[in-house]
């Protein structure tokens, strides 16, 4: 029976050290799902099949995160969507798939790390509409990306740093994203610092950028084109800005001329 095979595969997937074989197992599992016609939920799919299908797809999603395959994860997420939008009475034993919030939380985090804030907010709106605020507030796995997004938008990067470090992370899959996030905030802080500080001593820069050693700071500085002298870092961007402002006047006269000609043309039609 196809179902027995599927149960067997699920059991194998749940063992932690099978990471390399996971993709093959998953393809086999998906074929099995197609046999029992449960890959896409329809009105006559039994709750048992629904459970099997969701656990296969969820395992697939979580494993692709561990394998750092973002495309596969997005695909699994899309495939899980029709299952998640089914009403409660289709799930007989009143047990909704346990990993729903985890997968959704991971997807939100993925959107954040890529910088797709529009997508992030769209998904969040959809969640609020379907589950209501109370449930989302209690759900730590979803609150984590929401908190992160808030902190990122505000600019309090130390909060982001604190969230991604160690204990505050809800589960190990979220930790995969921590690296990406830290790189993002590092470049953000760097660009902010360029505009905000005339110069910085290297030790302070180390703390600000969450780097481990002064050597790393100097490397980073060189990579971004800053000048490191006498234990301080100088940011050269301001001068380029001043030049740009001067050029502004010349180019703006062009715009002014164009605009005024436009007004004259339009005014002639209004007689």
């Amino acid at each position: 029976m196809a179902e027995h095979e599927l149960y067997h595969i699920i059991h194998q997937l749940e063992k932690p050290h099978n990471l390399q074989q996971a993709p093959q197992l998953l393809s086999k599992a998906k074929l099995g799902l197609l046999h029992i016609q449960a890959l896409v939920p329809s009105s006559d799919t039994t709750p048992q099949h629904l459970h099997i299908a969701t656990s296969v797809l969820e395992h697939g999603a979580l494993l692709s995160i561990r394998l750092k395959d973002t495309e596969a994860f997005t695909r699994y997420y899309q495939q899980l969507q029709p299952f998640y939008s089914l009403p409660h009475d289709r799930w007989q034993r009143d047990k909704r798939p346990s990993n729903q919030s985890k997968v959704t939380g991971l997807y939100l985090l993925l959107l954040l790390s890529v910088g797709d804030y529009a997508g992030f907010h769209t998904v969040l709106e959809g969640l609020e509409m379907s589950s209501g605020k109370k449930q989302i507030e209690k759900d730590e796995l979803i609150q984590y990306p929401v908190r992160l997004e808030q902190a990122l938008m505000e600019g309090s990067y130390d909060k982001v740093w604190g969230e991604t470090k160690g204990e505050r992370v809800p589960s190990e899959e979220f930790a995969v994203f921590s690296e990406v996030l830290i790189n993002t905030i590092r470049s953000e802080i760097a660009s902010c610092s360029e505009r905000a500080y005339p110069s910085l001593p290297i030790s302070n820069a180390k703390n600000l950028l969450f780097l481990d050693s002064e050597g790393a700071v100097i490397q980073f500085a060189q990579a971004r084109g800053w000048v490191a002298k006498e234990g301080r870092i100088y940011f050269p961007q301001q001068e380029a800005e001043a030049l740009a402002a001067e050029k502004d006047v010349m180019s703006s006269s062009n715009t002014v001329i164009e605009n005024t000609l436009g007004y004259a043309r339009k005014l002639e039609t209004i007689v």
């Binding site: 939008s85 009403p87 804030y117 529009a118 907010h121 769209t122 969040l124 709106e125 959809g126 609020e128 509409m129 379907s130 808030q150 938008m153 505000e154 600019g155 309090s156 990067y157 130390d158 909060k159 953000e188 802080i189 660009s191 902010c192 610092s193 360029e194 505009r195 905000a196 500080y197 005339p198 910085l200 001593p201 302070n204 600000l208 502004d248 703006s252 715009t255 002014v256 605009n259 007004y263 339009k266 209004i270």
Partner: protein
């Protein structure tokens, strides 16, 4: 002859209006009379292929539905339009009305006497009009399930007709169809709501409307689809619909308003605030600000205010003092005050206190995003007021947890251009502001002027395009008169020529003698 009689009836209606002064006029006419006059208007519309008469007939729906004897009048109207009781069309309509109305055979005998005053032809448009009235009746009595099934039936029949004179009626039919489905349980935004089953129907209707060049239905159905998608928060689908279809440029003003409003909402959720702002502003400008439609104006203004806050601008105080808006916008006023001052605590309190109202307006999630705006405004206020302020003080003022956060926040604010001409002094832990930036020396004023001039010129162009010249009929009469005169002239010319020839002949003859 028939046309002349119709003109008389409509003239009679307008005279009554003049006598009793404006919109109070139809109160003088009984409900049945109104329905019969509307039949006349619809006939006229079909004869002259002019949609304005149908629109006038539809406009009376608002007064009709408030009448107590609406159901009876409707029954009488159906009997008047379809005298044969066995008529299938009549039966379909009458099924929806209560029993008492159907039995009123005797009462209508009197009105039958007046029937020959207005010739009522059994045309499809009259049936469609009565169908819309039945929909209104069902909606007012809150029989949503019956209404939903009846509307589906009505709409599929209307789609099978390919008559342009039916367009305004079919767009109304779709509107009520959508309204019925929205009230069926489970209500949206649940993912099982029946509005989802409505989507394929609406999409098919949109397709046929576009193929037939039916701009009324096209506009109405597009708007209904957007409303449908937004109610279940399927923003990506709504976005795709907007990207793939074109909104007809010749649509009626109220549909354009609605379209702009929904478009603005979609863009606001997608963080495209500038676009959202222009859409919502156009929606508020075009919408009527008095009468029954003032609710739309209030709703659009609420969205506009939130989007303006998200963009970093503070809406004008005068908006909040308009009498029609004052009560509706009260919680938003407090919100604006909190954001303006940069008061994070007040902001949080306001949001929590008015959560229910904001959710009802659909602005709650957008308002949550305002948190960072409050902080940015707070930073800006501080930088304007102090030339040098320590980070610790910033920390306390902004109710931020730690000094490091305050440092990062101010650095980001400087980078984003919220507080230009500032810098941070890391050793002493201060924020410094260098003033002396002359706004008038830069290009900012000219850019602001340019935007405003562009908007006004655009408005003027639209007005010019929307102008219509009255007196079509006069013009036709004029053309006919001209033609008549030309013919006369030709005749006269011919007669004269003939006379000349005769004269010549005669003269020739005489000469010949």
């Amino acid at each position: 002859m028939a046309e002349k009689m119709d003109i008389d009836t409509s003239n009679g209606e307008s005279k009554e209006e003049e006598k009793t002064g404006g919109p109070v006029a139809p109160a003088e006419m009984s409900t049945e009379k109104i329905i019969s006059t509307n039949f006349a208007l619809i006939n006229q519309a079909v004869d002259s292929f002019d949609p304005r008469f149908t629109l006038r007939a539809l406009r009376s729906i608002a007064t009709l539905r408030k009448r107590e004897d609406f159901a009876q009048a409707l029954g009488a109207g159906i009997r008047q339009a379809f005298p044969k009781e066995s008529n299938n069309a009549r039966r379909v309509l009458e099924e929806m009305l209560p029993e008492s109305v159907r039995q009123q055979q005797n009462g209508s005998a009197e009105t039958n006497g007046k029937k020959d005053e207005v010739e009522v032809v059994e045309i499809a448009e009259v049936w469609a009009y009565l169908g819309v009235l039945v929909q209104v009746y069902l909606l007012d009595t809150a029989s949503h399930q019956a209404g939903a099934t009846f509307s589906l039936n009505l709409v599929s029949k209307l789609r099978s007709f390919n008559r342009r004179t039916m367009d305004p009626l079919s767009s109304k039919a779709y509107l009520y169809l959508s309204l019925f489905h929205e009230n069926l349980a489970p209500l949206p935004p649940s993912p099982q709501s029946p509005v989802l089953t409505l989507r394929p129907t609406l999409l098919a209707a949109l397709r046929s409307a576009v193929i037939r060049n039916d701009s009324d239905t096209q506009a109405a159905v597009t708007v209904l689809l957007l409303r449908n998608y937004i109610s279940t928060a399927d923003i990506t689908q709504a976005d795709l619909l907007v990207a793939q279809t074109q909104f007809p440029a010749s649509a009626a003003n109220n549909q354009v308003c609605r379209y702009l409003y929904y478009l603005g909402r979609i863009r606001a959720i997608q963080l495209a605030y500038t676009e959202a702002h222009s859409n919502l502003e156009a929606a508020t400008r075009k919408s009527p600000t008095t009468g029954a439609a003032v609710g739309f104006y209030q709703q659009a203004t609420k969205m506009l205010i939130v989007v303006e806050l998200l963009m970093g601008d503070i809406p004008e105080r005068a908006t909040f003092r308009l009498p029609v808006l004052e009560k509706a916008l009260a919680p938003y006023f407090k919100l604006v005050q909190a954001v303006r001052v940069g008061d994070l605590g007040g902001f949080v309190k306001c949001v929590e206190g008015n959560e229910g109202r904001f959710r009802g307006d659909g602005t709650y999630t957008l308002i949550l995003r305002l948190r960072q705006n409050v902080i940015k405004t707070g930073v800006r206020m501080l930088s304007l007021s102090y030339s040098r302020i320590s980070l610790r003080d910033i920390c306390t003022r902004l109710s931020v947890e730690s000094e490091e956060s305050a440092e990062y926040i101010t650095a980001k604010a400087i980078r984003d251009g919220v507080i230009p001409d500032s810098s941070l002094d890391h050793e002493k832990g201060d924020l410094l502001t260098h003033s002396g930036r002359d706004v008038y020396g830069s290009t900012e004023p000219s850019e602001a002027f340019h935007e405003r001039i562009g908007a006004l010129l655009g408005m003027r162009d639209e007005c010019v395009r929307a102008m219509r010249y009255p007196g079509n009929r006069n013009r036709e009469a004029g053309i006919e008169a001209m033609k008549a005169r030309e013919r006369e002239r030709e005749l006269v010319g011919e007669v004269l020529e003939a006379e000349d020839e005769e004269d010549e002949e005669m003269g020739g003859g005489m000469d010949g003698l």
